[in-house]
């Protein structure tokens, strides 16, 4: 019966209910979008790194987890020769990374090294570089930007010819000849990072330890460690703090919306509260129905926010194709619901207690 009372109350003022759902839903959308962006960026980065076929990656001492944010400092010839001569190292690949958008980078590669590292580049269409200003794009980028083999892409203020479309998850969305990128960035003979493929992945820890001993200042990272490193880096850049702030705002908005909505509802239903009291409804009963209604508003708002998060993802992908990777993180649905319900519970407190303390005689005479 409590459920019926609450549902009928929500149905009785559909516009109030819908507006409450919307206002509660917006911060839920913000949370889910931020978390989706964070997960999307981390997963995309890790997927591409793993897809390179490498077991270890070597970075200069000052490199960030996102290599695109670092300067190429490692001498190419010397380092490639050094790592090639190390035991268990089967293939090496030097890379220069250049950021073109906030989270989109071009990777300069030597095609032969890349081919050996990946165990054979998996093409969807087209083939390797034919000239210095050829670019390989992955299927994701091709679909998002509506590009195909033979098309031209403007990057770094130059036109590049798409020579091939490769499958996703092979190092980067955009690959250009290493020499060209080194010249453009004026880092001839320098590298951002060096990928190492071992004869057996089981040797990764051993090789990593040996290299760390030999090159203590350099970052020697296994692909397994890269995931947590990238996650830490994303969080260090403030995304987790930002998410925490948005969660705080969501609780405050949830609280304020529910408090205002329920307070208005209590005022409008003063007489009904008086009727319930005349029937013997206790204070806890009155608080319970107000609370139940607030929780329903919170749940409805969460559902609304989840639907809106799909819309937000569509907007981001449409407005910034092949840039921000955004995922729908189902794990965060119950978390967002919990955050909203916490706000709703707090918001229902004052209206609930106010309703419960109504004098029944005054409430019954309320017009």
């Amino acid at each position: 019966m409590t459920g019926k009372l609450v549902l009928e109350n929500l149905k009785h003022k559909p516009m109030r209910s819908l507006l409450s759902f919307l206002l509660i839903g917006i911060p839920v959308t913000l949370i889910l979008t931020l978390v989706g962006l964070s997960h999307g960026m981390i997963d995309d980065s890790n997927r591409r790194a793993r897809g390179s076929g490498a077991d270890l990656v070597v970075r200069a001492p000052t490199s960030a987890a996102f290599a695109s944010m670092s300067t190429a400092t490692m001498p190419e010839q010397k380092f490639l020769a050094y790592f090639s001569s190390q035991p268990h190292v089967k293939a090496v690949m030097g890379v220069v990374v250049h950021t073109v958008e906030l989270v989109l980078a071009i990777n300069g590669i030597d095609y032969d090294q890349f081919n050996r590292m990946t165990g054979g580049v998996r093409f969807v269409k087209g083939g390797p570089f034919q000239g210095p200003y050829d670019v390989l794009i992955d299927r994701y980028y091709a679909q998002q930007k509506h590009k195909a083999v033979g098309d031209t892409i403007n990057l770094l203020n130059r036109d590049w010819r798409v020579c091939g479309v490769i499958e996703e998850g092979q190092l980067a969305h955009l690959l250009v000849p290493l020499k060209t990128l080194q010249e453009l960035d004026e880092v001839n003979g320098k590298l951002n990072q060096i990928y190492l493929k071992l004869d057996n992945s089981a040797n990764t820890d051993m090789v990593k330890a040996e290299l760390k001993q030999a090159l203590p200042e350099y970052q020697i990272i296994s692909m397994e460690d890269l995931a947590s490193l990238v996650r830490e880096s994303v969080n260090r850049q403030g995304l987790s703090d930002f998410t925490a702030v948005v969660i705080g705002i969501a609780i405050v908005i949830g609280f304020a919306v529910v408090c205002l909505s329920m307070y208005m509802a209590v005022l409008q239903r003063t007489r009904e509260i008086g009727i319930l009291k005349s029937l013997g409804a206790s204070k806890s009963f009155i608080v319970r129905i107000i609370w139940a209604e607030a929780l329903l508003l919170g749940l409805g708002g969460t559902a609304f926010g989840i639907v809106l998060s799909y819309g937000a993802r569509w907007v981001i992908v449409t407005l910034k194709p092949a840039s921000f990777q955004i995922e729908i993180v189902y794990l965060w649905w119950p978390i967002a619901a919990g955050i909203t319900l916490a706000g709703a519970t707090l918001g229902a407190l004052y209206p609930g207690l106010s309703a419960a303390s109504h004098d029944p005689i005054e409430a019954l005479s309320y017009e």
Binding site: M1, L5, G274, L364
Partner: protein, 227 residues
């Protein structure tokens, strides 16, 4: 107190505080009501009729005096105690019907049972009363779709669904036309005669007052006369 007396009131005073002024609403009321009695209370506005009802019904505590309702000392009852009194011991019928507008007639009755914590299925005695109220085919309508007479009959059904010891009807015909007023009064009389329901009814209508076994006349917070 005699067990035949379901209500016994002695020297009842009730003072309301309005701003900084004390307003006496009841100034020493003595009243005894026997179980199964149908009592009409008449008097002009401000005579204290409704205040007397509110105290008997546990909506407000007395300021002083003794009030025993169904063997419970209302002066000693806490707020929670008065809430429990309203659940099972008294049932209210109001002039403005006071049905919950969002619920159907059936749910308005069900909510009273739910609050009282009784079974969800009404008992045969109530089903019989429901037939007498002639609202069986209107139970799935919301109050806005019911006439005044139908709403009041639903309100009566809601008031008696938990078999209260006392039914308090405050101007039950005040918002009804003559025909519906008569129908409601006949229903109250029927409930009293067939089920032995104790009824206290406030009315301004002298004809309606005649339905009671006794008529109590109130003025200025006192009982002036009992006939």
């Amino acid at each position: 107190m005699s067990s035949a007396r379901i209500i016994e009131i002695r020297s009842l005073h009730k003072i309301y505080r309005v701003g900084k002024v004390d307003v006496p609403a009841l100034r020493g009321v003595d009243l005894a009501v026997k179980r199964g009695e149908f009592l009409s209370i008449v008097g002009p506005s401000g005579s204290g009729k409704s205040t007397l009802f509110h105290i008997i019904g546990g909506l407000t505590p007395p300021s002083s005096g003794q009030v025993r309702v169904a063997d419970q000392d209302l002066a000693a009852l806490t707020d929670a105690g008065r809430t429990n009194l309203r659940k099972r011991t008294v049932g209210f019928v109001f002039q403005k019907f006071n049905l919950l507008p969002n619920l159907t007639a059936r749910d308005n009755i069900a909510v009273a049972r739910y609050i009282a914590g009784t079974d969800s299925k009404p008992d045969p005695q109530f089903e019989e009363a429901l037939r007498a109220l002639s609202i069986a085919n209107r139970l799935d309508h919301k109050p806005s779709a019911l006439s005044g007479g139908e709403q009041q009959r639903v309100a009566i059904a809601r008031a008696i669904v938990n078999h209260p010891a006392i039914l308090l009807a405050d101007e039950p015909t005040g918002n009804l036309d003559t025909e519906n007023s008569k129908a409601v009064l006949e229903i109250l009389r029927d409930l009293n005669e067939r089920l032995g329901q104790t009824i206290l009814m406030i009315t301004h209508n002298p004809e309606a007052a005649q339905y009671g076994h006794r008529i109590v006349i109130m003025r200025d917070g006192r009982i002036m006369e009992t006939t």
